[in-house]
Amino acid sequence: MTEGSPASPARVSASGWGWRHASRERWAVRDLDLTIEPGERVLLLGASGAGKSTLLQALAGVLGGDEEGESSGGLLVDGAAPTRTRGRAGLVLQDPDSQVILAKVGDDVAFGCENLGVPREETWRRVREALDAVGLDVALDRSTAALSGGQKQRLALAGVLAMRPGLLLLDEPTANLDPAGVIEVRSAVERVLERTGATLVVVEHRVDVWLPLVDRVVVLSPEGGLLADGAPDAVLRAQGRSLAEAGVWVPGFPPPLPARRRAPGAGLLAARELSVGRDTAIREGIELTVAAGTATAITGPNGSGKTTLGFTFAGLLPPIAGEVEATGELRGAAGVHPIRWKSRELLTRIGTVFQEPEHQFLTATVRDELAVGPRALKLPAAEIAARVDELLQRLRLDMLAAANPFTLSGGEKRRLSVATVLATRPRILVLDEPTFGQDSRTWAEQVAILAELVDDGGAIVASSHDRLFVEALADGEVRL
């Protein structure tokens, strides 16, 4: 192949196709009949668990063989089984960190070409072409670890592009990005499609991001087959409401927002001339006061120090300079500086919800997980049981009381991580990106719980780049 001769767009056809993972009883995808013509741009929607990611992985040929699961019917890319047409389809995944393969930008983009046996000179020509197409103008020996989330996703796109695929598969490529990153990646995809004319299948919860780019919307049904298929306007008109109810972010169907009472109370915690960072300051001179009955948002792009500020404010990281001081109302018998409090003293005063729920799970069952905090407070057994039962019910976890926290779904893990912190009734709740990558249903649930907490006289401090979340909840905002 020579420069400027991209591969021809690929054709996809499924007839009665289905897939069941080896460890599951339920079919992930079932009875799928679908034809995608070369050059079509398809947005693939469906409730969680409808099998969208499974279909993309099957098309990319990475679903695995017979030991990984069982398939039925036929699924073809350009008339051949996808596992035989490696390189025809290129897949970009959701998590920017987990798909960077090598340490340097150039080497990472070259990786796919090497695997396809492309000669060296041709490889480096393609690397440059691909980086140019996604607009990633950094040195080839630039460290991949030093890229932002949006840049990492464009890097992954370039790596796929260098393989000259005829079918571009994107699995929620912008779910983990800040708004600037989302735009970056979307425009990169747009440019790539203009240049290559490749067929596109994109899975995404947030419909508005991709709507301008696609010419067809396909909705998978969790029961198998398709719920809808056609032009974007027609499908969204017919299916918008039910999709929104299933957790898809459909324009014109915003999730319900809670009414806020907004009655600020006494001051609880204040930061004065605060500098935060892990070893050296990444932000300086921060002033922030938090009162009971209020919600404060910390906003700013990825990497601007939102998480570090939240953790410093929550008494988990020591300030580089300046002070975080608790008022008498919050501290009670404890000292002035939260970072000097014992771990146990934090429990009733400041609770922290981590972005990755798995970082904070400690036990083997949901019920034990909820009891960790109350036990550390040495509450009487009856009181512990009462609190745990109440939370199980309130956060719809009662059916899962005996399940292992690590085995829950994304939304359930999120609810549990909030519940474990609520169990010790802290006056202040600090949350790190609480709505990251969530479907609209989990989002609405979480916002409702937090609103209730604040109106009951609690306070929350949340780092977030989710505008809707900030507008729904925040009384004040710190912009980094």
């Binding site: 992985q57 987990s98 150039g106 070409c113 771990s343």
Partner: protein, 280 residues
């Protein structure tokens, strides 16, 4: 974190037109020694160590150490970096010596005795020989590897030594996850404090934390594997290499230099009658 980079990128749009070059551009910084194939550095360190573990006497170790200290300034390692990276070796050497001084096999005059401790002519000789030997093997190993880039090493192992590509490239990709695991571990620590169990039993918490890290590691690992497979890794096609890994005169020179230092050290020991073959 890359906000600044984006800014500087937009400020210099003329950079877009990049001259066509076939090979990956060389690192801007660099000393000729940095470009020597890592496989040769690895070989030199192994040959040197092999010579020095044959005997245990102070003459061979000191000879090697003196030769090495004369060579190291020419290998392009900055003094600060040298001391920082070799610090563990400088600490380990005297401690190893001290242990042998106190507990080593006694011979000749005994100077001090207390329970199992016995300092004698024999243990003094042995202690010196061992301490110097730790330095003589440890310092060059560290110095040779300061300048090694893991990607270049993998290229060398696969192209020069012909180790299986699947294994070498897989290990290289996994290495990149280590940084993520370190971050995970920090978060796990902070989360223990946040959950009210951070006051006591730091050691007792470790198994739980390790388990959580393992779960996260498996998840990250399988995502990485999917990403690699999606880019054709592990497919039936014969893999090509984007970077050429050569073994030329420079590589042979480094290899021979390593061997020479070892041989001269052995010769010195034999000629002065200090040769002390370790086996038998």
């Amino acid at each position: 974190m890359s906000v600044g980079d984006e800014g500087s990128r937009q400020a210099r749009p003329e950079k877009v037109a990049r001259p066509e070059k076939v090979a990956r551009p060389e690192k801007s910084a660099t000393h000729p020694f940095d470009r020597v194939n890592p496989v040769s550095k690895l070989g030199a360190a192994l040959l040197l160590a092999a010579c020095l573990v044959l005997t245990i006497d102070w003459v061979s170790a000191s000879t090697a150490l003196v030769l090495e200290l004369m060579a190291i300034p020419f290998l392009g390692v900055r003094p600060r970096e040298f001391w920082l990276r070799t610090l563990p070796v400088w600490i380990a050497a005297p401690f190893t010596g001290l242990t042998i001084l106190l507990y080593g096999q006694a011979a000749g005059n005994v100077y001090w005795e207390w329970f199992a401790i016995r300092i004698s002519d024999g243990s003094i000789d042995l202690a010196t020989a061992t301490a110097v030997r730790v330095l003589a093997i440890g310092l060059p190993a560290v110095v040779l590897f300061i300048t090694v880039d893991p990607t270049d090493l993998a290229d060398g192992l696969a192209q020069v030594w012909h180790l299986p590509a699947r294994f070498v490239v897989g290990a290289l990709a996994a290495l990149r996850l280590v940084g993520l695991f370190l971050d995970d571990w920090k978060y796990l620590e902070l989360a223990r404090r946040a959950r009210g169990v951070g006051d006591t039993g730091r050691m007792r918490r470790i198994p739980g934390q390790v388990f959580a890290l393992l779960v996260l590691a498996i998840r990250r690992g399988s995502k990485l594997a999917t990403a690699m497979e999606a880019r054709g890794f592990g497919g039936p096609t014969q893999r090509t290499w984007a970077r050429d890994s050569r073994f030329g005169w420079r590589e042979w020179a480094v290899l021979i230099a390593g061997l020479m230092v070892g041989m001269i050290a052995i010769a010195a020991a034999v000629l002065t009658g200090h040769w002390n073959f370790i086996v038998g």
